[in-house]
C-alpha cells in the first residue's frame, strides 16, 4: 500500500514535471554554480526565500535571512509543454525574481537547478521501466507460452536459446550491444535503444517461468475443453493459458521494474546512456562521481536518494501484490 501510494505520487510528479519544477532543466545560472539547497524562511503563514550571498572564493554561499522575497504559487517562468503537448509557462511555485532563486535541492556544476533536473529526469527514469516491462513481458509471455504449449523440438530450441541469452553477463552484453550503435546519437534514440536492449535480454528469464506454468496449465481440463470446442492453438495460449499466469506475472513485473531503472542508471553512469544536456537520474549521479564534489556538495546525490526510494517502493508494491495474489505464502 505504502509502495503503491508512493509510486503513484512519483509518477504524478514525473507526468507534471514541467509544471512542478521551478525552472527548465537546461537553464543555467552562471552566477551560482554548486549553489546549496535554498532553505525557505517561514514567518507565520508566509514562506519567504532568502537571498544567498556569493562569498569570495570558489563556490561558497552565505544565507541572509534578513533579505528575502515571498514565495509565490503559480508564477510565470520558463516555457514548457504541459503533458508534452500544451505550451505553458506557469510553474507551481517560484519567486519570479532571478536574484532570489529557489533551488530547493541546490544547483550542479553548471548552475542548473537539481530539483528541476530530477523531475525532468524522472520522466525518463520512471518510464523506461514501464515500457521495458511491457515489451519484455509481452515477448516472454508469448514465447514462453508457445514453448510450453507445443513442447517437443519447439520447446527445446526456444529454451536453449533462452539459456544462451541468460548465460551472458548482462552488463557486458548491454555495453557490447550499446557499442554497436554510434556514440553520438540523440538522447531520445539512446532511450529507445536502452529499452530495447534490456527488454531483449530480460524476456528470456520470463519465458522460462511462463513455459513452466504453461506446462502445468496444459494438463488442466479447461485447455482440453477449449481444444474440444475447436479453438485454435494460438487463441488457446493467449486466451486460456496466459491469463491464468497473470497473478504471477503482475507481481514479477512490479518486482522487475527496478532492473530497468537501474539499467538506465548504470549505462548513464558509465557514460554510454542518456547524454547531456538531457536529464536522467543516472546521468546526474555521474556528475557526483568525484569524491571532492561528494564531500563539498552532497546535494548532488539527490538522484541517488530518488532511485533508492523508487526501487524500494516498487519492491514494497511487488511484495504487497504477492501477498494479495498468493494466499499460500
Amino acid at each position: 500500500m505504502l509502495g503503491g501510494g508512493l509510486l503513484l505520487f512519483l509518477y504524478a510528479l514525473a507526468i507534471f514535471a514541467g509544471f512542478i519544477s521551478p525552472y527548465d532543466y537546461v537553464r543555467q545560472d552562471h552566477d551560482r554554480f554548486f549553489h546549496p539547497p535554498t532553505w525557505p524562511k517561514i514567518s507565520g503563514f508566509h514562506v519567504a526565500i532568502p537571498r544567498y550571498e556569493h562569498l569570495p572564493g570558489d563556490c561558497v554561499y552565505r544565507r541572509d535571512p534578513g533579505d528575502s522575497v515571498p514565495l509565490h504559487f503559480f508564477v510565470h517562468g520558463d516555457a514548457y509543454r504541459l503533458l508534452g503537448l500544451i505550451p505553458f509557462s506557469i510553474h507551481l511555485f517560484g519567486t519570479g525574481n532571478d536574484n532570489y532563486p529557489v533551488y530547493l535541492l541546490g544547483t550542479d556544476q553548471y548552475g542548473r537547478d537539481i530539483l528541476s533536473r530530477l523531475l525532468y529526469g524522472s520522466e525518463i527514469s520512471l518510464s523506461i521501466g514501464i515500457i521495458g516491462i511491457v515489451i519484455s513481458f509481452t515477448l516472454g509471455l508469448l514465447i514462453g507460452g508457445i514453448s510450453g504449449y507445443f513442447g517437443g523440438p519447439t520447446d527445446n530450441v526456444i529454451m536453449r536459446w533462452c539459456e544462451l541469452i541468460m548465460s551472458v553477463p548482462t552488463l557486458y552484453m548491454v555495453i557490447a550491444l550499446r557499442n554497436t550503435f554510434p556514440a553520438n546519437i540523440s538522447s531520445a534514440q539512446v532511450y529507445g535503444i536502452i529499452i530495447i536492449i534490456y527488454s531483449f535480454i530480460r524476456w528470456a528469464g520470463m519465458a522460462r517461468v511462463i513455459r513452466g506454468m504453461t506446462l502445468s496449465l496444459c494438463e488442466q481440463p479447461f485447455v482440453l475443453a477449449a481444444r474440444a470446442m475447436g479453438q485454435s492453438h494460438l487463441k488457446i495460449i493467449v486466451r486460456h493459458i496466459l491469463p491464468n499466469t497473470f497473478s504471477y506475472v503482475i507481481v514479477a513485473a512490479t518486482l522487475s521494474v527496478p532492473y530497468y531503472i537501474l539499467g538506465e542508471v548504470d549505462l548513464s553512469y558509465l557514460g554510454v546512456g542518456i547524454q547531456e544536456p538531457s536529464a536522467s537520474w543516472g546521468l546526474m549521479l555521474n556528475a557526483a562521481q568525484n569524491t571532492e564534489y561528494m564531500k563539498n556538495y552532497p546535494w548532488l546525490l539527490a538522484p541517488g536518494v530518488a532511485i533508492f526510494i523508487t526501487v524500494l517502493a516498487f519492491n514494497f508494491l511487488g511484495d504487497g501484490l504477492r501477498d494479495a495474489a498468493d494466499t499460500k505464502a
Binding site: P221, F222, L224, A225, A228, M229, G230, Q231, P243, N244
Partner: protein
C-alpha cells in the same frame, strides 16, 4: 448413414518398442439421435476412444495406428487441422468429468459460452443467445448468472454451464465423458434428466461414458462394454442389463451394490485391470474370469454376434 462410424480403431501411446496399445480394434456406430453408453473400468480405453473421435488425444505421445473414424461420412483421422477445428464443436461437442476444472477459472461463464458461439455461430454471439442457452440447461436467473465466475457456482451448475457451452455450437453428437462422476447423487439424476430432455428436444446423438451401470439403464439405447482396450460386449441396453452374456459384464453387474438382499460384503471383481501395454496373452479378462479355461490364454477371441444385435467376445458365453 450412421452419424459416427468407428472402424477397427487402434491407438498406441509411444512408438516402437515402447508402444503401448491403449485402444485395440474398437468398432462402434452411433446413429443420429441415438444414445450409446461406453462402460468399463478406469483405464480400459473409454476416454481415449471418445477423445479420438475429434482427434483430441495429442499425438505424440499418442499414435493413431489404424482404423477409421467416420464422422458424417468423413474420416477425422485424415482431416487437416483446420477441418478438425471446424468439426470440434461444430459436429461433436464434449462435456468432461470435472466441471470445476473444465471451465477456465479466470473468465466469466457468459464469455466462455460466447467463445463457443463466436467459433461456430458468430452471427448469434450475443448475450441474448447465451441467456437462452443457460435457460435451456435449466439455470435459474441466467441474466445475472452470465456475469458469474465459475467458482461462484456449485458443481451441478458448473456442469450445466459446460453442457450449455457444448450445445452452443449445435453439435450432432454430444460426447459426455463421465459427466456425473464428480457430482452429488441428487445432482447426477438432474444432469441425466437434462441430457435426456435435451436429446429429445434437439435430436442429437449422445455418447455417454460411464462406469456406473445405473446410468446405463436410465438413459442408453445401446451399450458397449470395454475391457483392456477392446469391446467385449455390445447390445441394446435392455438386453444387456437383463441378460449380460460376457463374464466381465456379469461380474461388473454383480459388483453393483443392491439395496435389497442380505449380502454382508460388497462383491468385487478379483484382481486388477491390466495395465495398457501389458495385457495377458489371449483373452484379456482370462486371469480374472471365473469361467476361464486353459485355452482362453491361447488367442484373443473374436467379437461375435451371438444373438441379433448382441455381440460378445467370449466363446464360452453360454
Amino acid at each position: 448413414m450412421n452419424l459416427l462410424e468407428i472402424k477397427d480403431l487402434k491407438l498406441d501411446f509411444g512408438r516402437g518398442t515402447d508402444a503401448a496399445r491403449a485402444v485395440d480394434g474398437i468398432s462402434l456406430t452411433i446413429a443420429t439421435g441415438e444414445t450409446v453408453c461406453l462402460v468399463g473400468e478406469s483405464g480400459c480405453g473409454k476416454s481415449v476412444t471418445a477423445l479420438s473421435i475429434a482427434r483430441l488425444v495429442p499425438a505424440p505421445p499418442a499414435n493413431y495406428v489404424g482404423g477409421e473414424i467416420l464422422l458424417n461420412g468423413r474420416d477425422t483421422l485424415k482431416m487437416s487441422t483446420r477441418e478438425l477445428q471446424e468439426i470440434r464443436g461444430g459436429v461433436v461437442s464434449y462435456v468432461f468429468q470435472d466441471p470445476g476444472a473444465s471451465l477456465n477459472p479466470v473468465f466469466r461463464i457468459g464469455n466462455q459460452i460466447k467463445e463457443s458461439l463466436k467459433l461456430h455461430r458468430p452471427e448469434q454471439a450475443n448475450d441474448a443467445e447465451v441467456i437462452r442457452l443457460l435457460k435451456l440447461v435449466g439455470i435459474p436467473a441466467p441474466e445475472s448468472r452470465i456475469r458469474n465466475y465459475p467458482f461462484e457456482m456449485s458443481g451441478g451448475m458448473q456442469q450445466r454451464v459446460m453442457i450449455a457451452m457444448a450445445l452452443a455450437s449445435e453439435p450432432k453428437l454430444l460426447v459426455a465423458d463421465e459427466p456425473t462422476t464428480a457430482l452429488d447423487v441428487t445432482i447426477q439424476a438432474q444432469i441425466l434428466d437434462l441430457l435426456r430432455d435435451l436429446k429429445k428436444r434437439l435430436g442429437m446423438a449422445i455418447l455417454l461414458i460411464t462406469h456406473n451401470l445405473g446410468i446405463v439403464g436410465d438413459i442408453a439405447d445401446r451399450v458397449a462394454v470395454m475391457y483392456g482396450g477392446q469391446v467385449v460386449e455390445l447390445a441394446s441396453a435392455g438386453d444387456l442389463l437383463r441378460r449380460p452374456l460376457h463374464p466381465y459384464t456379469k461380474a461388473l453387474m454383480n459388483s453393483v451394490p443392491k439395496l435389497r438382499g442380505d449380502t454382508d460384503r460388497l462383491s468385487a471383481i478379483p484382481g486388477n485391470v491390466p495395465r495398457i501395454g501389458n495385457f495377458p496373452p489371449g483373452c484379456r479378462f482370462a486371469p480374472r474370469c471365473p469361467i476361464a479355461k486353459p485355452e482362453c490364454s491361447d488367442k484373443i477371441p473374436e467379437l461375435v454376434e451371438v444373438e441379433p444385435a448382441h455381440w460378445v467376445r467370449c466363446p464360452f458365453w453360454k
